[in-house]
Amino acid sequence: MFKYIVKRILIALPVLLGITMIDYGIMCLAGNPLEMIAGPRVSMEALENKAILLGLDKPFYIQYLVWLGQLLQGNLGTSMKSYLEVSDMIGSHIGPTLLLMGTSLIVGLAIAVPAGIFSAIHQYKKRDYAVVTLSFVGMSIPGFFLALMLIYLFTVRLGWLPSGGMTTLGTDGGFLDVVLHMIMPVTVLAVSIAGSNIRYVRSAMLEILQSDYLRTAKAKGIGRRRVIFKHALRNALIPIITVIGMQIPTLFGGSIIVEKIFSWPGLGLMTMNAILGRDYPVIMGVCLLSAVVVLAANLITDILYALVDPTISYH
C-alpha cells in the first residue's frame, strides 16, 4: 500500500513539472514571464540592467529555471493592474470560492446520489426515464443561461433573493444574509453537477445490483430494502468517490462564470476580471494553482480508491 502511494506520487511529479512548463509556455505567448514577476513598473533606463538581472539574456531554459525557482519560493508575481502580490490576492479570494464550491458539491451530490440510486432501483420504469431525462436537461442548460433565468425569476419577478455579491452592501452580513446570497449560485453549480452525475451513479448502482453476490443475497431471502441499503449501497460508494474527484476541475471552471454573473467575490470573479483585463500574472497564478489542486485531487482520489477497494492491485 505504502509503495503504491509513493509510486502514484512519483508519477504525479513529472506531470506537475509539465504543468509548470505549460503555464510558463502560455505566459511566454502572452508576454515575458520574468518581467511579470518583477512587476510591470519597469522604467526605460533600468530595462537593460533589469534584463541582465532577470536573466533575459540567458537561454530559454535558464529563464524557465529562474522562474521556477521564484515559484518554489512562493513568488507568483505581481498583478499588472492592482500591483498586489498574486499570492496575496489568491489568499484573500479563496475563502468565498471554497465556500461556494464546497456547498455546491455537497448539494449536487445530495441530489445525484439518491436520484441515481432511485433510478437504478426502478430501472426501465417511467420513474427511471423521468429521472434520467431530467439529468439530461441539467446537463444541457448552459450555466450562464440558468443563472439569468434564476435572476429573472427570483430577483426581478419575485424579489426574494439578492442577485449578486456575498453580503448585502452596508451591512456586516451575518449567516442568513450569506445563505440568501448563496442560493442561486449554488443552484446553478449543483444542477450541472447533479446533471452529469446522476447517470454515473445510476450505472454504478446497476452494475452492483446485477452482480452475482447480490443475486445470492436476494436468493437467500434477505429483504429487498436490506439488499439495497446494506449490501449494494456500500459497494456503490466506491465509484462515487471517483465522481467527487472528477468534479473538482468542472467546479473550478464553472465557478468562474457563475461568480462573474453573481458577482461572488471569490477566485473565479478575480480570474474573470483578470482575463478580461489581460492581467497575465494573475491568470497564470490561478491556472497553476487550479492545475495543482486538480492534480492533488486526482492523487487523493486514487489513493482513497485503493484504500476502499480491496480488489485493486498495487503493482
Binding site: K3, V6, K7, L10, H315
Partner: protein, 338 residues
C-alpha cells in the same frame, strides 16, 4: 523426409515487475528449454494441462512472441535471428488457427476481406483474381461460396473455425500451428473439423503442430506426440506408442484421466492425478512432477529432466521410467477407447 521445423532449447520467461522503480523480482518460466522437430508432412501433437507452456511455444513459432533464448529453425533458417523485413516475408509460410473462433475473426469485416486482404498484400493474387481465389478457399474448407459476402457473426462456431482455417490456408503456408482448434466447439462439430484438417493436410502436404489438452483429439490427428509439464517436455513418442506404452508417470496419469466409454474397463487401476500443478514462478528443484508423482523417490530431486531415448524414437524425461513401465499389452485395451 527432412525436418521442416527444428526447435532448439526454446526458453520463454515472463518477468514480474514490482517496486517503486519497476524491476524484475521474479520470472514465470513458461517454457524452459524445449527441443523438438517436426518432419515435413507430419503432425506433432503437443499436450499438457493449461498453463504448461504449450500455447506459448505455438505463439513463438509464428513469431507473435520473441523467445527469451533458443532457436526456431524453419526450413533451415533461424526465425529468431531474422531481420524484421525477412521475417515479414517468411512468416506467411507459418500460419496459425486460434482456439476461440469468436474472437479470432474481425466482426467488422466481411469474410471476403478477411481472406482476400492478406493475399493481395502478399501478391499471392491480384485484386481481380481475389474473388475466384476466395471461392476456391471456401470450397476447400467446405463452406458455401456465398459466405464471402457475410459477416463473421452470421456463422456458427464450427463455420467460423472453417473460416479461420481458410484464412490460414490463404497464404499457402507450409506449416500451420493449430492452437486448440476444436476445444471451444461442440463435440459433434469437433470431429468434422478434425477430419477437415486431416484431409487438408493430405491434399496440400501441410505440416501441423497440433496443440491440445484433450488426448483423444490429439491422438486422432497426430503422428507423434509431445507431452509437456511445467515448461518441459516429459515424453515424446509416436502417437500409438505413447498411448499403448507410455513411460512417464505423468503421461500415464493423463491417459488414465480420459473418460473410458467401456464399462468393463472401469475398474482398471487408476493413476489419476492428485494435487495441483505447481506455480510456474516457484518451480521445484529436480523433477518438476515429483510432488504429484505416484512413484516419487529420493532420487527425483536430482533429476534434470533431460529427454532420454529410452527406446528407439521414444524419449522420456524420467530416468526411472523404464523401471515401472507398463508392458504394451496390459494397457492396450484401455487405450483403444480413448
Amino acid at each position: 523426409m527432412s525436418n521442416q521445423l527444428i526447435v532448439e532449447n526454446l526458453v520463454k520467461y515472463y518477468p514480474i515487475k514490482d517496486g517503486i522503480i519497476p524491476h524484475t523480482i521474479a520470472e514465470i518460466k513458461a517454457v524452459d528449454g524445449v527441443s523438438f522437430s517436426i518432419e515435413e508432412g507430419t503432425t506433432l501433437g503437443l499436450v499438457g494441462e493449461s498453463g504448461c507452456g504449450k500455447s506459448t511455444i505455438g505463439r513463438q513459432i509464428v513469431a507473435l512472441e520473441k523467445p527469451t533464448s533458443g532457436s526456431i529453425f524453419f526450413e533451415g533458417e533461424d526465425l529468431t535471428q531474422m531481420t524484421a523485413s525477412r521475417l515479414q516475408e517468411k512468416r506467411t509460410n507459418l500460419q496459425m488457427v486460434f482456439q476461440d473462433p469468436y474472437s479470432s475473426l474481425n466482426p467488422r469485416k466481411k469474410v471476403f476481406h478477411i481472406l482476400a486482404d492478406p493475399m493481395i498484400h502478399h501478391h499471392i493474387c491480384t485484386k481481380e483474381e481475389a474473388p475466384s481465389r476466395v471461392d476456391e478457399l471456401l470450397d476447400m474448407v467446405g463452406l458455401n461460396r456465398s459466405a464471402k459476402d457475410r459477416f463473421p457473426h452470421e456463422f456458427s462456431g464450427g463455420q467460423r473455425q472453417r473460416i479461420g482455417i481458410a484464412r490460414a490456408l490463404a497464404l499457402n503456408p507450409r506449416l500451420i500451428v493449430l492452437d486448440e482448434p476444436v476445444s471451444a466447439l461442440d463435440v459433434s462439430i469437433q470431429a468434422q473439423i478434425l477430419n477437415l484438417l486431416k484431409n487438408l493436410k493430405a491434399k496440400l502436404g501441410l505440416t501441423y503442430l497440433f496443440i491440445g489438452h484433450g488426448l483423444g483429439a490429439v491422438r486422432y490427428i497426430s503422428d507423434r506426440i509431445a507431452v509437456m509439464y511445467m515448461g518441459k517436455i516429459v515424453e515424446l513418442a509416436d502417437a500409438d506408442t505413447l498411448f499403448t506404452h507410455p513411460l512417464h508417470p505423468y503421461t500415464k496419469a493423463l491417459r488414465d484421466a480420459a473418460p473410458v466409454p467401456d464399462p468393463t474397463l472401469r475398474d482398471r487401476k487408476s493413476s489419476a492425478l492428485t494435487g495441483e500443478v505447481g506455480s510456474a514462478m516457484d518451480i521445484p528443484s529436480g523433477c518438476r512432477f515429483k510432488n504429484r508423482c505416484v512413484h516419487a523417490c529420493a532420487g527425483c530431486s536430482a533429476v534434470n529432466m533431460e529427454l532420454i531415448e529410452a527406446e528407439p524414437g521414444h524419449f522420456v524425461a524420467c530416468p526411472y521410467a523404464l523401471r515401472f513401465a507398463e508392458t504394451p499389452k496390459s494397457a492396450k485395451g484401455g487405450a483403444e477407447h480413448v
